[in-house]
């Protein structure tokens, strides 16, 4: 490739506080349209902003996770512009003094770690939601005033993969710190990409193009890689890149033009006079940090120490509910590697089949832990364990009860006992021995079946097979 891509991301994250950024209105995302609204959210004259402390706490946690300098004095500003989704005609944000500045995060690229700089993180309020129809637009003010943190990276990423990993890392932080659902498809995590190309070795940035409406992490990578390709081709054929906003069209696998940017809007920022600067005590900031739930990276390391593979740890951590279920099994003294196996294969398949979420299953995590202990103690097979697990999940009963109901008992792999069954089976079926020796492989399966029958299913099939071959050879 001839050009170096320079990529910076702006990420808006909706915080899942109980109430909105500056009003007491509930913030639950789930109610009927225009029901979570106070006079402030509709900008009725005389209403005033009241800062949500919980949102500040969350923003501090995210800032801390991103190794940022945290401003111990909160300042808010007004960003003024007219738009139908902006009830007050201005948005309260933190222009001059963001709560966090100058941080970084690390992404893994193959075996290497790469540090991406983060310029700032600030708090602000969301706008209301517009739904456009042919000749009218509907406004839902439930979203107006929902707390946001905006995380602005430095332009230090160079391809779609890096950007994708960066967003993944940000999402892991906001999700595991309890700040947000981090769902791109639902808009609780929104990514705007700024991308420009320049010849390798050139210091100046090229013309910046913005990509919006990215609704999955995969789309980010695809959109950026497409855009790099598009701009490269354009530059090589002597075209000029226009400063424009594009969106990603998933079905076409391409970015398409939304609008050409003219001069940047003048937002006429000035300090919000209804929120005087607020001094945060060291104790408040420290407490917010100390009470932050365990983050992804720490859990990941811990899972590896429990014996999980990186892949299994990633799968479990990809769903916070799964991770919390997984961890709830630990106190029982369970074999956590086995717990992970059951979760990733059997429990997931059960969830897929029934369409349930892990929070809905009736089996407590401690029962799953107990199952792994029983398997080990009674030398049951993974298959037997799976049968018990499905029974527990389906009938909502405990492990012991399920085991009893399924008549599952420990396998016999005692050599003497197996030899006795094998000898009996061979004695009774000389024809099968002859068939096997004549090259009919199927005969051995029949003999295994006979042994299992004699052992009432308790003989360990692998041990039976070995012993049969051994004994046939002797005859």
């Amino acid at each position: 490739m001839n050009f170096e891509a320079v990529i910076g991301l702006e990420i808006h994250v909706e915080m899942k506080t109980r109430s909105k950024m500056f009003s007491s209105s509930p913030n639950s995302f789930s109610r009927a349209v225009n029901t979570e609204v106070t006079p402030f959210d509709l900008a009725f004259p005389g209403t005033m902003p009241r800062l949500n402390k919980e949102a500040v706490r969350m923003a501090i946690r995210v800032a801390n996770a991103l190794h940022m300098t945290i401003d111990h004095e909160l300042h808010f500003d007004r960003k003024n512009y007219f738009y139908p989704d902006l009830p007050k005609g201005f948005q309260i944000t933190q222009q001059r003094r963001p709560i966090g500045s100058d941080g970084y995060l690390e992404i893994r690229k193959g075996n290497e770690k790469k540090r991406i700089g983060i310029e700032r993180i600030h708090m602000e309020e969301d706008t209301c939601k517009q739904t456009h129809f042919v000749d009218y637009t509907l406004l839902d003010y439930n979203r107006a005033g929902v707390p946001l943190v905006e995380i602005v990276s430095r332009p230090e990423m160079h391809d779609g993969y890096e950007a994708m990993k960066y967003v993944e890392a940000i999402r892991n932080i906001v999700v595991y710190s309890g700040t947000s659902d981090g769902k791109m498809e639902e808009g609780s995590l929104r990514v705007d990409v700024n991308i420009s190309l320049r010849p390798y070795g050139q210091k100046e940035f090229g013309t910046k193009v913005e990509i919006k409406n990215l609704n999955s992490i995969k789309n980010i990578q695809d959109a950026i890689d497409f855009e790099i390709e598009r701009q490269s081709k354009a530059l090589l054929s002597g075209e000029k890149i226009r400063q424009e906003t594009r969106r990603y069209d998933e079905s076409k696998g391409a970015t398409v033009l939304m609008r050409v940017k003219t001069d940047a809007v003048d937002y006429k920022y000035f300090p919000e006079p209804n929120l005087v600067p607020i001094r945060l005590s060291d104790a408040f900031v420290q407490d917010a940090i100390d009470t932050c739930p365990e983050l992804y990276d720490s859990k990941f390391e811990r899972y590896l120490q429990m014996g999980l593979t990186e892949k299994d740890a990633e799968i479990i951590l990809s769903d916070p509910a799964m991770a919390s279920y997984f961890e709830a099994a630990a106190p029982s003294g369970a074999d956590m590697k086995e717990v992970a196996n059951f979760l990733i294969v059997e429990v997931n398949s059960y969830l897929n089949k029934t369409g349930k979420g892990i929070k809905e299953i009736k089996m407590p995590a401690t029962e799953l832990g107990k199952l792994t202990l029983i398997l080990k103690k009674e030398k049951l097979t993974h298959k037997q364990g799976a049968d018990i697990l499905f029974k527990c999940l389906e009938d909502g009963i405990g492990v012991e009860e399920a085991k009893k109901a399924l008549h599952i008992e420990a396998m016999v792999d005692d050599e003497g006992a197996i030899l006795a069954f094998v000898t009996e089976a061979l004695d009774k079926n000389p024809q099968s021995i002859a068939d096997y020796k004549a090259g009919k492989d199927r005969a051995i399966s029949f003999l295994v079946g006979q042994v299992m029958k004699l052992s009432k299913g308790k003989a360990k099939p692998s041990a039976v097979m070995a012993k049969l071959k051994e004994e046939i050879a002797k005859r």
Partner: protein, 490 residues
């Protein structure tokens, strides 16, 4: 004819407690007088609501001096279920869903709201001439040639007409204290943050204050006790405890240090004002106070008005951006949202308001911020620093509240003269610094009130009331109303 409402609040309270009168009697008198108002004081008279409310009040509360008193609220206080327009067409038909915190507090104290008063549109203006219902008149001038001042014009006029025991106003530059001067009233604005602004339609929040009119200093002290205090709905409201301000009233002013600003008094052209002002200084001294002349700095004083215009217009253009016809107020169909908003705002605001928005917007533009908005902010800080330095040395600043009596409509002043720039605008000092400031009558000149103003240290309202009471004792002018004047009791 003289009525109960020409009296002070304390006297009315005593009559109510002794059951010589009832809240209903007072409400009836208020409504009757309101209906006879000739000064264009009202947006809306709440006859039925007020009479119903007053009729419910039968058991006097001895410890509640506000019990059963009729009052008036400027039409920029949000009143639940009652149309509130701030005298602007842009809010025609807007019926709020909630009460301003001061309205709630007065409801709890069983005060009876008689009417919503007219005002300069959206509280911008100082003349009382820009309401969408037309100009307000000064009750002391039956020929209707003189203004009552603004922006709390209707509240001031109604009080001077003896229509209520007290009236709420708002004060961003001098919008309570200037009309109080022209209408012979006590006009008070406490420290910024002392009274919750929740529900007050904002003009310029960093300068906005809830203020009020009473007929005497004593009433002002009692009323602050009811209105002040922290409010969760206004995070700029102070947590400082509210004091029993009335206990300061007779504290006296012995050993207190008063000062007045040389530049302001020097530029007065009204000889009567000068004479009466200097005479009052001597009386203050007789009561044991000291009075000194201080030079504030002419450049700083002349900077008050431009700095005020820049800051207040800048904040206003943002505060009033919510008035777009989409959520409330008159809505106009348009092909695009821009067209719709444009129409609502073009039709809703008067020319003067649009002019202020243009000024404010211009001052905030990226290329102008440094030269205009930020420079005005720096000037504000310099002025406040100077004022606070003076108040470290002196207890009170004492000045004429206006250059003279209420001017006639159309009497134009040279806007670049010192008289206009500083005499007519210095009360904004109290808004810049958020200091408590009170206007009260000094004398009558040709039958029209002349007012003076006292300003004290932040959150020392009690001391300010003590000084104001001493001054009121000197002038002997408490309980003024146009009717009292007409009937020769002044």
């Amino acid at each position: 004819m003289m009525g109960y409402l020409d009296k002070g609040m304390k006297e009315l309270h005593e009559l109510l407690v002794m059951k010589k009168i009832t809240p209903l009697d007072l409400a009836k008198e208020a409504i009757e007088r309101a209906k006879a108002d000739s000064c264009n004081s009202f947006e809306k008279i709440l006859e039925q609501e007020a009479l119903d409310e007053a009729a419910r009040l039968t058991e006097p509360e001895e410890d509640n001096i506000l019990w059963g008193l009729p009052y008036i609220a400027k039409d920029n206080f949000s009143t639940k279920g009652i149309e509130t327009t701030a005298s602007s067409n842009v809010l025609k038909g807007y019926v709020p869903l909630f009460d301003a915190s001061v309205i709630s507090r007065l409801k709890e104290r069983k005060c009876v709201l008689i009417a919503k008063s007219s005002m300069d549109e959206l509280a911008m203006g100082g003349t009382g001439t820009t309401s969408h219902i037309g100009k307000a008149y000064n009750p002391y001038d039956p020929s209707h040639e003189r203004m009552v001042g603004g922006s709390s014009s209707g509240s001031a006029a109604a009080m001077a007409e003896g229509i209520a025991a007290f009236a709420l106003g708002s004060d961003t530059g001098d919008s309570v204290r200037k009309p109080a001067s022209y209408a012979g009233l006590v006009g008070m604005k406490p420290s910024w943050g002392r009274i919750s602004r929740y529900g007050l339609f904002p003009f310029a929040p960093s300068l906005d204050h809830v203020g009020y009119f009473t007929r005497d200093v004593e009433g002002a002290a009692y009323l602050l006790e009811a209105l002040a205090g922290h409010d969760d709905m206004d995070s700029t409201s102070s947590y400082r405890p509210v004091e029993a301000y009335h206990e300061y009233l007779n504290k006296g002013i012995a050993e207190k240090k008063f000062c007045y600003f040389k530049e302001i008094v020097d530029s007065l052209s009204d000889e009567e004002m000068k004479k009466k002002f200097f005479a009052s200084l001597e009386e203050l001294k007789k009561k044991g106070a000291s009075v000194e002349e201080v030079a504030f700095g002419l450049d700083l004083l002349r900077a008050i008005y431009p700095a005020y215009m820049v800051i207040s217009c800048a904040e206003a253009t943002s505060n009033d951006a919510n008035l777009d016809g989409i959520k409330f107020g008159p809505y106009y169909e348009g092909k695009t949202y821009q067209e719709s908003m444009n129409e609502a705002r073009t039709r809703g605001f008067s020319e003067l308001i649009k002019r202020r928005f243009v000024i404010g917007s211009y001052c905030l533009m990226r290329e102008n911020q440094e030269e205009l908005f930020l420079r005005a902010q720096r000037l504000r800080h310099m002025i406040v620093d100077r004022l606070n330095a003076i108040l470290r040395e002196y207890d009170f600043v004492y000045l004429p509240a206006a250059p003279g009596i209420a001017p006639r409509f159309g009497e134009s002043s040279d806007k670049l003269s010192s008289e206009y720039l500083i005499d007519d605008n210095h009360l904004a000092l109290g808004n810049f610094a958020g200091l408590p400031s009170i206007t009260l009558p000094l004398a009558l000149e040709e039958g029209y009130p002349l007012g003076v103003n006292l300003m004290g240290r932040a959150y020392e309202e009690g001391e300010l009331f003590a000084a104001a009471k001493a001054l009121e004792d000197i002038t002997g002018l408490s309980g003024l109303s146009a009717i009292n004047k007409k009937e020769g009791r002044l």
